[in-house]
């Protein structure tokens, strides 16, 4: 079952570091948010393949919003 990766803070997407199909390990950054001059990675909660990326660079995301899906 797909698992949602959620932003833990509100911020602007600074970088999308993974792409659909990438195999990631637990703790790997999937996107990097920029908030108040800080770069904060949003990490994969477990190992898996990236199924979907729901955000693009420059977009504002809210705390709790799903940014990607993990296979």
């Amino acid at each position: 079952m797909a698992e949602e990766i959620k932003a833990h803070i509100t911020g602007v997407v600074f970088q999308v570091t993974a792409k659909v199909g990438d195999k990631v390990a637990a703790g790997d950054p999937v996107i990097v948010l920029e908030s108040m001059k800080m770069e904060i990675p949003v990490e994969a909660p477990r190992a898996g393949a990236v199924k979907e990326i729901r955000v693009r660079e420059g977009q504002t995301v809210q705390e709790g919003e799903t940014v990607a899906l993990l296979e």
Partner: protein
């Protein structure tokens, strides 16, 4: 003297500069982004100009838009504040070209001190002690390893174009060096557009002590004593005070003499700060020079009684310094704390609307706030909400006033550093003035 000052900043510092201009009878122009339409600094100024969208690159960091705003509003001077374009020599030069007085040092001085390896070389040549390290940015992991072996581990990697702790990494031994260098280079490249990194010896638990200097166009340079700024997180300050507690007289004299020698060597004009690391033995090393007004300038104002913003304006207008060295006599002690919109434990940002705000007042209490009740704290800018400064006849009284003022602060709607600042103010080591730069990260104030 110029008559209208455009304040190229936002938040508490924009408000502080507007106030400084008022004391000299100068008109003020605020600038703002779409996110800051209702910000207090916009209402404070005589008039305000919209720069553009919320992202800083399209507003407060956009030199073209700022110059246009100055032209259209009839401003004849620009105060850059801190952050944003304050240490951008091209912006300072562009102001001069547009016949606007830039309230700060020359583009040459900003450029020389902004390039950190060059700054170290210049200061080293002027006799200012520097941390042992690579004189030039390192080309590759091999060169980094050679230098690190010479100066001894642990070492710290720093971005040549950097500041604010971005791209810094501590390296414990040679096995970790190559990976750390790759990360630091990438971070520096993305943050500053320049991936150059240099290597320095990492000092264990040093203090951060800095010296305020001030030069005028006649060649006079004075110092306004030191500030202790060791309480930091992510290499950014949380608490600052003057005088620095438990600093022996010989070290203090060495610091102020070195700061004056460094400022003289580059013919420095206007307000600047030389930052030093001080080790347990009283040895001190030049860290960097900030060629602008510091966030923590109020502690110096409180102990010296001088208005640094007004002095900046006078000096920029070609007037001599309004104070001479023998009149700069520190009185009592002052402590500043920074209230940031962030989680006090994880230091993660906490944007949102401020639903309730109560700020303290009273004898010896000064507040510099960029927000009011109802303000929305944006993700686009620095999380500083306000600064609280307590002044007393001695450090004990300043601490008592600070403690009461912190207790009186109420901020609702966003998380803030207030709980951490209260813990720090009550901490026995802090109260004894026994501080160093790694205390926050080592968890000294947790639990």
């Amino acid at each position: 003297m110029f008559r209208t000052v455009l304040v190229a900043n936002r938040g508490e510092i924009a408000r502080r500069i507007v106030r400084g201009c008022r004391t000299l009878g100068l008109a003020t122009v605020a600038v703002y982004s779409e996110a800051d339409r209702d910000a207090p600094h916009v209402k404070d100024a005589d008039r305000a100009v919209l720069l553009g969208p919320a992202p800083a690159r399209e507003s407060y960091l956009d030199a073209e838009r700022l110059l246009r705003a100055a032209r259209e509003s009839g401003a004849d001077a620009v105060h850059p504040g801190y952050g944003f374009l304050s240490e951008n020599w091209r912006f300072a030069a562009a102001c001069a070209e547009a016949r606007l007085t830039f309230i700060g040092p020359s583009p040459e001085a900003i450029r020389a001190m902004g390039d950190k390896p060059q700054a170290r070389r210049r200061m080293g040549a002027a006799g200012v002690p520097i941390v042992p390290g690579s004189a030039e940015p390192v080309d590759d992991a091999e060169a980094a390893a050679r230098i690190a072996a010479e100066i001894g581990y642990p070492v710290i990697l720093k971005a040549a174009a950097g500041g604010g702790g971005i791209g810094m990494a501590k390296v414990a031994d040679e096995t970790a060096l190559a990976a750390a260098l790759a990360t630091a280079t990438r971070r520096a490249q993305s943050a500053f557009g320049n991936g150059q990194v240099y290597v320095e010896r990492y000092l264990e638990a040093p203090r951060h002590v800095e010296v305020q200097v001030f030069g005028d166009s006649k060649g006079t340079i004075v110092h306004l004593h030191e500030r202790e700024c060791s309480i930091q997180r992510r290499h950014q300050k949380l608490v600052e005070e003057s005088p620095a507690p438990n600093l022996d007289a010989r070290t203090k004299r060495g610091l102020t003499e070195a700061a004056l020698a460094g400022a003289r060597a580059i013919g420095y004009v206007n307000a600047g700060t030389l930052e030093f690391l001080v080790d347990a033995q009283g040895g001190f090393y030049f860290l960097e020079m900030n060629t602008r007004l510091q966030v923590e300038h109020p502690v110096t104002e409180e102990v010296t009684g001088f208005d640094l913003v007004a002095a900046q304006l006078r000096v920029a207008a070609g007037e001599p310094l309004p104070f001479t060295q023998d009149r700069i006599e520190p009185r009592g002690a002052a402590i500043e704390v920074r209230v940031y919109a962030e989680d006090p434990k994880s230091f993660l940002p906490s944007p949102g609307a401020i639903t309730r705000l109560t700020l303290p007042s009273g004898a010896g209490i000064r507040v510099e706030s960029g927000v009011v009740e109802g303000s929305v704290v944006s993700v686009h800018y620095d999380p500083l909400l306000f600064k609280l400064i307590a002044h007393g006849s001695d450090r004990g009284q300043a601490l008592e006033r600070l403690t009461r003022a912190l207790d009186a602060c109420v901020v609702e709607g966003v998380k803030t550093t207030l709980p951490l600042l209260r813990t720090i103010a009550a901490h026995p080591e802090f109260r004894r003035g026994r501080v160093h730069t790694q205390m926050v990260e080592q968890g000294a104030f947790h639990g």
